[in-house]
Symmetry: C2
Subunit: 327 residues, 2 copies
């Protein structure tokens, strides 16, 4: 483990990939290695990209990588895919577009899928950003497909959030955009050579003006791009750099990073608290009884929860004695 | 509370609405009332509708309601909206389309937004389906906008899942569809009068043929609709009824319902376990110290979690003594 951690810190892509896989698989060596490299993290600029499906995010990320490389940055990319609950695997094939960067050792691209249920996505991508950070990438792009709560969680892990829109999508999409409008630091209108781009830009600017803005607050720029021709991508890179600079000058970069750490810590506590409760419950066989009763509707789920946690939760009055008696 | 529960069981929409609001707000009276009505639930047919944004789900739901009414069913609708993390509110305006049913007392429509973080959406919609179930609606439609993990969770709460697609969306959307392809029981190609509908149908049928199918398994039908003209909606209603009948005949409806109860029970245990751990931690002030260390990167989040749970988790060896000493 310590050998692997050392190679990750040297930027070895094979070791980085293995560590991410361990973390995804819940292999305990993953956390062990991550603890070793953790003190060396915190240096990368984390940029989250999100937006409606069909906005051309993969093409944009591809062009963005090229631009960041021209500026001399080493770039890590985490592409978060919606996963199939059956196969558990990533399903998007269009990552191939980014493969032109595969031979560039200044670029590391990793596709991730949600394996578990709740929190799987946010946790896995947080851990992957730590690995890429430890590997020494200056900029880490986290791209998510979709518009749900998961995606908002993922972008909340970033220092700078880029919201990608596109002209001519339906009302649904316009409405959804409003949901992530408030978390965006930089807005991109991609495919801006399409009909309706001026209308879409006007609409977006209007919505941005409705955002509550405090004194000295960052004014999110709106950038028109045509990612397939790499148009506007230099402006995008500059806007992200300017946002980071703004956070630094306001002393806010540290707070954003601290919030990110706190958020992740709370997730870890939540997950482990459940595991411990379930482990304690399994030892007393009470969980199986309650579960059977819940499944058969002999008890409502709220009462079953209360009964379980009264027996084995952190406030249990006789948890150890009872487990001893039944064990 | 017992008066409200009684009126909910009588189908009073004002009381049902109030109970859902209590549940959303975390008002303890909500759970209390839900416990009272719980034994009367389990009778409704729960139908989840999901699919890519722009697929016209709201219009489809509107036409679906009309068809179910023609068949004499009482219909409850839960429209789950992606919510703004800032305002906490629902943001979709196009529910107004369904307002023509507002004066029909056989129809109850409720818009919901995700309030909390993790699990907020799934929990709130599960609880709302229980309320509508208790109110005596024969069919409950749960409509979600989006394509993320949240949406998959919501449709997993349904007996019958309808996946709505549409011709002519981009590659991204086609790929995302694959993620929910495996959870669909009935597939709808809406706006099927559009160019490209035949291609989209062929593509969908091909993907459906790739699904692993066991002997005697349900073969998901693909139904072409033009929701704005109510075309194909009778076929949709029949397909959903046929799916329920199939589950009944195979003895699987009970298992689906039991899975649903188990899933919800586990969510409740998880949430409460975290609350209890955090409450115990707050009492010992250890949480604040660890949180400050995590925020300042003086400790990695994994070690902080372990330290916290060693002190106050269900396996804590000296939790009560320590809390007593510091409290």
């Amino acid at each position: 483990v310590s050998g692997l951690a050392e190679r990750v810190l040297e930027g070895c892509p094979v070791s980085g990939g293995r560590l991410i896989r361990w973390l995804e698989d819940g292999d305990p060596r993953g956390i062990e290695a991550l603890r070793v490299v953790y003190p060396q993290t915190g240096k990368s600029h984390l940029i989250g990209l999100t937006g409606a499906p069909g906005a051309g995010k993969s093409t944009l990320v591809d062009a963005f990588i090229a631009e960041l490389r021209r500026r001399g940055h080493r770039v890590g990319v985490i592409a978060v895919d919606p996963s199939s609950p059956f196969s558990g695997g990533a399903i998007l094939g269009d990552r191939v577009r980014m493969q032109r960067h595969a031979t560039d050792d200044g670029v590391f691209i990793r596709s991730m899928a949600t394996r578990g249920r709740m929190g799987g996505l946010a946790r896995a991508s947080f851990e992957a950003t730590l690995v890429l950070d430890a590997m020494g990438y200056d900029v880490i792009l986290v791209e998510t497909v979709g518009v749900g709560q998961d995606e908002i969680e993922v972008v909340e892990l970033a220092h700078t959030t880029v919201v990608v829109s596109v002209p001519g999508l339906g009302d649904d999409i316009q409405a959804i955009k409003a949901g992530i409008l408030e978390v965006g630091d930089v807005f991109v209108l991609n495919k801006s050579d399409r009909p309706g781009a001026d209308d879409a830009e006007r609409h977006l600017r209007m919505m941005l003006h409705l955002r509550p803005a405090a004194e000295g607050a960052w004014m999110p720029p709106l950038i028109r791009t045509v990612a397939s021709r790499e148009e506007g991508v230099a402006e995008l890179a500059s806007a992200c750099a300017a946002h980071r600079q703004h956070l630094l000058e306001q002393g806010r970069l540290e707070r954003v990073a601290a919030d990110r750490n706190e958020h992740f810590f709370r997730e870890l506590v939540r997950d482990r608290a459940l595991e411990e409760v379930l482990a304690a419950a399994a030892a007393s066989r009470r969980f199986d009884d309650l579960l059977a009763a819940v499944r058969a509707r002999r008890i409502d789920p709220y009462s079953a929860r209360d009964a379980l946690l009264a027996a084995v939760g952190p406030h249990a009055t006789d948890a150890r004695g009872e487990r001893g008696a039944e064990g």
